[in-house]
């Protein structure tokens, strides 16, 4: 079994779909599009088993050279180790489910083939990203997913708004990529290679802990990560990215691509361990982001934007975990988040379709009766997102992060408090959404019920987002550590400082209480006393605050004023290219000289004689001057 097959299959199918274009029938497209992902999922599982059985550090396949120039050498080397297996598994399985769902969701779409081509391309690129053995190949995947995200956000290209969103996404992430590229240059400069394992093991020899160079490198890598994972300060693109079709939001902007940053940091964790400052920065960014995004999610009116902000916030948790050195916890949260966030998005998609592409929360409501199945899976998803204790996967993963943010080596009380606040907010916005959609009285009538192709993936994901939690239980209850053990060969165990059961209990209890109270507030807000609440919310101060939050804390405005407007203004000003003026004026000068001289050619004999005489006078006077003075 070749690991190379896993990304190759989607790539090939993408190529087929592109070439096939209009000629392929819908069925064929569906088969190729979904089948390929299924196939690569299958292969992935096989290889995972083989890997688990083999028990070596990693399966590495060298699939040919890429660039080799003057001591710089990279190839298409694919690597299967514990970390990649987790990511590959999630990407392929969730990806497969989403594809199946999409085949139902998009079936009216005329440009069906293009959609699946891009989706497959994306999966291929994403797999390359997480399987890359050298950073250049990783960068290849990194940019590839960026491209696909661009293509899919702007999938409905007729609406300029979508294109702007797509462009924004690409450019903002590109800013991060630039930082990452520079990090690559530095790494090559110092280690002489871009192979990840070599870098990781040589790094400890090259740099001492806290060396400024490594700090710079780590920070630059972090820059790349925040770009892709929509963290502060580059988080602004994700909410707009919801312009894309819902399966896209589910796959790219919830489950997989946006967590690439998490993967990158986890992958290069050694470097971050060498650079404490960078690591703390990561944690701080995570903490701040999760709170800010939480507030923003609280006041959104567009169902998908709520989920988008919640995604940002959840990834904030992961970054927090990474910052605290709780590597496996971060990855664990990635897994569960992939499940329930994909679930939520697709469920939301189902609702949207049911209401004939209505995305405004306040035009929904009372759908509990209408859409039974979706109601239940949605509930499961929300529960998991809001981390309802004991039964949901979300609870275990998030709780682990909350606890470690306090107790881990890199932890801090402030982080802990932020995480708790986040838990409260999560509860509130999640169930505000839930109640708004399913309770209250019917506002828009349901015109179309989702078919099996859409429902079955939902059920499966619902199941996953419930049971997935049980592979890693805190030792207060059960103490199962399958997951972290699995990752142990790649990611070192977190070093817990003050490891007291009592404190852990309190932390868990607290988070649980907060989550539940959040739900309570949401219930009161939406269902129990909508009137009073709304009166309270109509207060001018609050009104402004809500606007401010819903605009994502006006980061867009800030960046526009600081960067976009100046650049656009300057370039518009200079459209004609000032430097050209230099030359045109030179030409004008020549013309002027011509005009002046042409006047001397008056045609009058006397003038000409005068010219000769003046010449004579000049020559003689020069003589006199040279000789006598």
């Amino acid at each position: 079994m070749f690991p190379a097959l896993i990304p190759l299959i989607p790539f090939v199918s993408a190529l087929l779909l592109m070439l096939g274009w209009k000629r392929l029938s819908r069925i064929a497209v569906t088969v190729i599009g979904c089948g390929s992902i299924g196939l690569s999922a299958f292969v992935a599982v096989l290889i995972a088993i083989q890997f688990a059985a083999g028990g070596e550090q990693a399966i590495v396949q060298h699939a040919g050279n890429w660039v080799e120039a003057g001591g710089f050498k990279t190839g298409f080397d694919l690597r299967m180790d514990a970390l990649s297996v987790v990511f590959v598994g999630v990407i392929t399985i969730v990806g497969f489910l989403i594809h199946v769902y999409a085949s139902g969701y998009m079936h009216e779409e005329p440009d069906y083939a293009r959609f699946f081509a891009c989706m497959n391309l994306f999966v291929g690129a994403m797999l390359t990203l997480v399987m890359a053995d050298n950073l250049l190949l990783l960068y290849f995947g990194w940019e590839g997913v960026g491209l696909c995200s661009y293509l899919l956000i702007g999938f409905w290209y007729k609406d300029p708004a979508n294109n702007y969103a797509a462009r924004k996404a690409f450019i903002v992430t590109r800013v991060g990529d630039t930082a990452m590229a520079i990090a690559l240059f530095m790494l090559f400069q110092f280690t002489g290679t871009l192979r990840i394992p070599e870098i990781l093991q040589s790094s400890t020899h090259i740099w001492s802990k806290g060396d400024p160079v490594i700090t710079w490198i780590a920070l630059l890598l972090l820059g790349g990560a925040v770009g892709k994972s929509a963290q502060l300060p580059l988080q602004t693109w994700l909410p707009d990215a919801m312009a894309g079709p819902t399966p896209v939001s589910a796959l790219i902007h919830a489950a997989t691509m946006v967590t690439a940053g998490v993967y990158l940091i986890a992958r290069t964790h050694t470097l971050f361990e060498l650079a404490p400052d960078a690591q703390i920065t990561t944690a701080v960014i995570g903490a701040i982001t999760l709170v800010l995004a939480g507030f923003s999610a609280l006041v959104q009116t567009d169902i998908k934007r709520v989920l988008a902000y919640s995604t940002v916030s959840q990834i904030g948790y992961m970054f927090l975990a990474l910052g605290c050195g709780a590597w496996s916890a971060a990855v664990f949260h990635f897994v569960t988040h992939a499940f329930f966030k994909a679930l939520l998005f697709m469920a939301a998609g189902a609702v949207i379709v049911a209401l004939h592409h209505e995305q405004d929360l306040f035009k929904m409501g009372g759908l509990k009766k209408q859409l039974k199945g979706i109601y239940w899976v949605f509930l499961v998803g929300c529960a998991s997102l809001a981390a309802i204790p004991f039964v949901t996967a979300g609870f275990y993963s998030k709780d682990q992060i909350i606890w470690l943010s306090l107790s881990a080596a890199g932890g801090h009380t402030a982080f802990w408090l932020a995480a708790l606040l986040g838990a409260l907010l999560t509860g509130m916005y999640t169930f505000r959404l839930f109640f708004l959609v399913f309770y209250g009285d019917l506002k828009t009538h349901v015109h179309h019920r989702p078919g099996n192709s859409m429902m079955i993936p939902l059920y499966i994901l619902a199941l996953l987002s419930t049971i997935a939690g049980f592979i890693e239980l805190p030792h207060t209850l059960g103490h199962v550590t399958l997951f972290s053990n699995w990752l142990l060969p790649v990611l070192p165990a977190v070093s817990v400082l003050h490891d007291s059961v009592a404190m852990e209990w309190t932390s868990q209890a607290l988070s649980a209480v907060l989550a539940l109270s959040g739900i309570g507030v949401a219930y009161a807000w939406v269902v129990w006393r909508p009137k009073g609440m709304s009166d309270f919310l109509e207060m001018p101060a609050l009104l402004w605050l809500r606007g401010f939050w819903s605009r994502g804390w006006d980061f867009d405005k800030l960046y526009n004023i600081l960067l976009v407007y100046p650049f656009v203004y300057l370039s518009r000003m200079n459209k004609k290219d000032l430097i050209d003026k230099l030359y045109t004026s030179l030409a004008a000068l020549m013309q002027w000289c011509h005009n002046v001289l042409a006047r001397t050619q008056s045609g009058l004999l006397r003038w000409y004689i005068l010219g000769v005489v003046l010449g004579a006078v000049a020559i003689l006077s020069v003589l006199i001057w040279r000789i006598y003075i």
């Binding site: 890429w66 120039a69 590839g144 290209y157 702007y164 650049f567 656009v568 459209k575 430097i579």
Partner: protein
């Protein structure tokens, strides 16, 4: 000998296609196409099985021309020249193909000029005698002037004159430098010769070396073009017919880069090293300034033209980074830029044929009508913003990787250029192919001929992106030499 043949084929094909063109248009088209394909075949043949073990220079050919001055007809081919020639004939053949429908007036004379330009370019890439170099350098201008001036768009004469004067001014300075070098060498060795190999490592005092080097450099910077000598380029590219733009962007600019690699650095290593920071700075300014201008343009071809300014900045940056990785990147960049920009110009031309405007404000939503052209455009736009998997990425990455060793700050700025590139590249797609389609064009998508052209280009750019090794290996020897 084979080298001379390469030039002569083009020369006679040029005359022939002119003569035949009077009678039959198709005839001259076919003659032009065949001659170029023939040359392409020869070059690829050379590439595949060049005499092994001959060291850096695969072929040499030398006869006296004006012994009185020590001028000889001295041609030689190494990896670099070979690559450039391959590019030349490839793009040349394509530009004949794209003119197939576009050029209907004075077809014979058109192909005469086209082939003559290519002939001159071939000479420039092959010659190892400085006089001869200048000779070809000047020789390719006139036909180019005609290509722009006769078959161009509205402001063709202005553009043609500008192009001509700029390049001539640069060229004359180079002439001074060449002669200066000639006499300096003669003063030292009493041997009066223009031969490249004799003039290499001529001992001279630093001040002299600096001036001579500047003489060469300016000529090449004008051609490259580097800010602030770039203003001829947008006009020329915009006004030229599609084939002209392709040849300009794909080949003529490369002669400047080639000149830097072939002459400036080896002839005046020390002086070049002194000027390096300034040159790199110019390169970076080019990258950012060009990008900014490109972002502002509303004329499709003009936009692409400014992207060339931006891309050639990388060449300048890498050429003066003085390390092998950067040089490899430069060579790659020369080739990939030729391909990608050429392709964009071809697409622009194809669009112009269909909707008779270059103003992107009047475009939009064309994807609906022209999905194939759209996808092609998407690929090359992505190439120009340096997407991995396409040739330009390899080139730009290597350049930056190399120049990072030389100068951190400038490299960072250049890398920021990638963001700018993203901005203007995506703008192309958005304004032209995406968005609402208000006007009801009904036009055919890519015809078979155009499809062949585009597919050829796509294959090449992807091949360069995924397996650039052959190219890198070919330029290897030469680069070792330059670095030394």
């Amino acid at each position: 000998m084979i080298l001379l043949v390469l030039i002569l084929i083009l020369f006679f094909a040029a005359l022939l296609s002119w003569i035949v063109g009077v009678k039959s248009h198709a005839g001259s088209r076919w003659i032009a196409l065949c001659s170029l394909l023939l040359n392409l075949g020869i070059v690829t043949g050379v590439w595949v099985n060049h005499p092994a073990g001959t060291g850096r220079w695969w072929y040499q050919y030398r006869v006296d021309w004006v012994p009185h001055f020590g001028i000889s007809l001295h041609l030689a081919m190494d990896g670099l020249s070979m690559l450039m020639l391959a590019l030349t004939f490839f793009l040349g053949a394509l530009s004949v193909l794209i003119s197939w429908k576009e050029i209907n007036s004075r077809v014979g004379f058109f192909h005469f000029n086209l082939l003559f330009v290519l002939c001159g370019i071939t000479g420039v890439f092959l010659t190892m005698d400085l006089f001869l170099f200048y000779f070809f350098w000047e020789m390719m201008l006139i036909p180019m002037y005609f290509l722009i001036g006769i078959w161009g768009h509205e402001h063709r004469e202005y553009a043609a004159n500008k192009f001509f004067l700029f390049t001539q001014a640069g060229g004359l300075l180079m002439l001074l430098a060449i002669l200066g070098l000639y006499f300096v060498h003669a003063a030292n060795t009493n041997v009066y010769t223009f031969d490249y190999f004799d003039l290499l490592n001529t001992p001279m005092d630093p001040a002299m070396a600096r001036w001579l080097m500047l003489g060469f450099l300016v000529a090449f910077l004008v051609k490259l073009p580097a800010v602030p000598f770039h203003t001829w380029l947008p006009d020329a590219h915009t006004e030229a017919p599609t084939a002209g733009s392709v040849v300009l962007a794909g080949l003529l600019l490369k002669t400047g880069a080639y000149g830097i690699l072939r002459f400036v650095l080896p002839l005046f290593p020390a002086a070049a090293a002194d000027i390096a920071p300034v040159a790199m700075l110019l390169g970076v300014i080019g990258i950012l300034y060009g990008g900014m201008l490109a972002y502002a343009q509303t004329d499709f071809k003009r936009l692409i033209a400014y992207t060339s300014v931006s891309h050639m900045g990388f060449v300048l940056l890498g050429a003066f980074a003085f390390n092998e990785i950067a040089y490899q990147g430069v060579v790659m960049q020369m080739i990939t830029h030729g391909i990608s920009t050429g392709a964009l110009f071809i697409i622009a031309g194809a669009l112009y044929e269909r909707i008779h405007t270059r103003n992107i404000r009047q475009m939009g939503g064309l994807w609906l009508r022209l999905p194939m052209m759209g996808s092609a455009a998407m690929i090359f736009v992505m190439a120009s913003l340096g997407l991995p998997g396409l040739g330009n990425f390899v080139a730009e990455f290597l350049v930056l990787l190399g120049s990072w060793q030389a100068n951190h700050l400038l490299t960072v700025l250049a890398t920021i250029g990638l963001v700018v590139a993203t901005a203007y590249s995506l703008r192309i797609m958005q304004k032209v192919f995406f968005g609402p389609c208000d006007r009801q064009y009904n036009m055919p998508d890519l015809s078979g001929r155009e499809l062949v052209i585009i597919i050829a280009l796509v294959i090449v750019i992807c091949w360069l992106g995924f397996h650039p090794q052959p190219v890198l290996n070919t330029s290897q020897q030469n680069i070792d030499y330059v670095v030394r």
